[in-house]
Symmetry: C2
Subunit: 199 residues, 2 copies
DNA sequence: GAAGGTACTTAACACTGTTAACCTACGGTA
DNA sequence: TACCGTAGGTTAACAGTGTTAAGTACCTTC
């Protein structure tokens, strides 16, 4: 097992167990029993290490979303499924999700910016599902990309609130997620369908 | 001017100009021309300093939301106005908003937890506007608190996406905000109103 | 066997939050 | 007036952080 992949593995486990704030170069090195500076032989700096970690997770997430989009359900159901899949990913891997979202592209060197575009594929898929629904006239929406983005932003809000423990204790987490997804998906559809209903 | 209020003032300006990551105790002290340890005579630690900073901003935000809720508009319009007011706050004071949302209550000592409840007043106000709309039968919603929370989470997502510069370059920021707010508010209403329409 | 490169090390720099110990000037009291 | 305590600072230090420069072993190729 190469040192590079050991670094990634250990980083991931520290992230999972102790969270982002206690992930340090020296701690990673200590757990592999190697000097901290060795990490710099395999990664330019800490940000690039995190970026690599992110890339793997984003690819996993994209595969998951693509899989959900390829199921033979109607567009509406697909959107619901994708929404739930996205929320699930965020909640089962909160530390990874946190890092994905916390890392700032503009604070990074030039070329990794390209890599951030990979993360966009997720809502390209969502936009395509919406376009598909527009074709079959199940959805009325003049700007699918904008809608995909809006849905995604709202889902991010839901995940973020839960991860950051800002959810009111009076509100049950599961119920909140259900309510929010229903709200996001239905809302986006029905808001465009008065013409549809009055037909 | 007391040292305590000088610390708060300088902290706020560093936060505004250089962002959260470059706000350090030594930097604050340097700008006031005082030793770094002096800060600890007025604040228990960095978290408590940030907490004080947050408290002031949260109170400002609450006043703003309360003011919008007290205008003599209909419940629907009020919800839109509150939504826009909240987004405006997040976008005009991104560093403050970031700190408000990044600071983790569970990583803080016991008593400041109480202070985090202040932040909740914002959606208590929103929940009351919804309840008011339910009374006048302009809104159909069986769980106003849950809805207020859902709206708030979604708005947070919108702000968060913009602040973290995750907005696709193909999408105009202003349009995105309009679309999202419309989506959040309309969606939440219309999704409950098929019974209303088919009456 | 000498040269060169690869993969690592140690030492160091400039930061970070935070604590302990010390100092000093002011106010109240014996 | 002399003492004492406290309020409000100070300096020195600890343990941690990311990162860089220089040095060292070993392995391959000429």
């Amino acid at each position: 097992m190469s040192l590079r992949s050991q670094i990634l593995k250990v980083s991931r486990s520290i992230l999972m167990e102790d969270g982002f704030s206690s992930l340090s170069m020296r701690k990673i090195a200590r757990e592999i029993d190697v000097s901290a500076t060795s990490i710099y032989l395999h990664f330019k700096n800490k940000d690039h290490l995190l970026l690599t970690l992110i890339e793997e997770s984003v690819e996993e997430l994209n595969r998951k979303i693509l899989h959900l989009a390829e199921s033979d359900a109607g567009p509406l159901e697909k959107i619901s499924k994708i929404a739930r899949g996205y929320v699930d990913f965020g909640l089962t891997q909160p530390q990874i999700y946190e890092v994905i979202f916390m890392l700032r592209p503009e604070e990074m060197p030039r070329y990794p910016k390209e890599k951030f575009r990979k993360a966009r594929r997720g809502y390209e898929v969502l936009a395509n599902v919406i376009r598909q629904g527009v074709k079959t006239e199940e959805i009325v929406e003049e700007d699918p990309l904008m809608s995909a983005y809006t849905i995604w932003a709202q889902l991010h809000g839901v995940i973020s609130v839960i991860i950051n423990r800002r959810l009111d204790t009076r509100i049950a987490e599961g119920e909140f997620i259900d309510h929010a997804i229903e709200h996001i998906v239905e809302g986006f559809l029905v808001s465009k369908s008065p013409a549809h209903l009055t037909r």
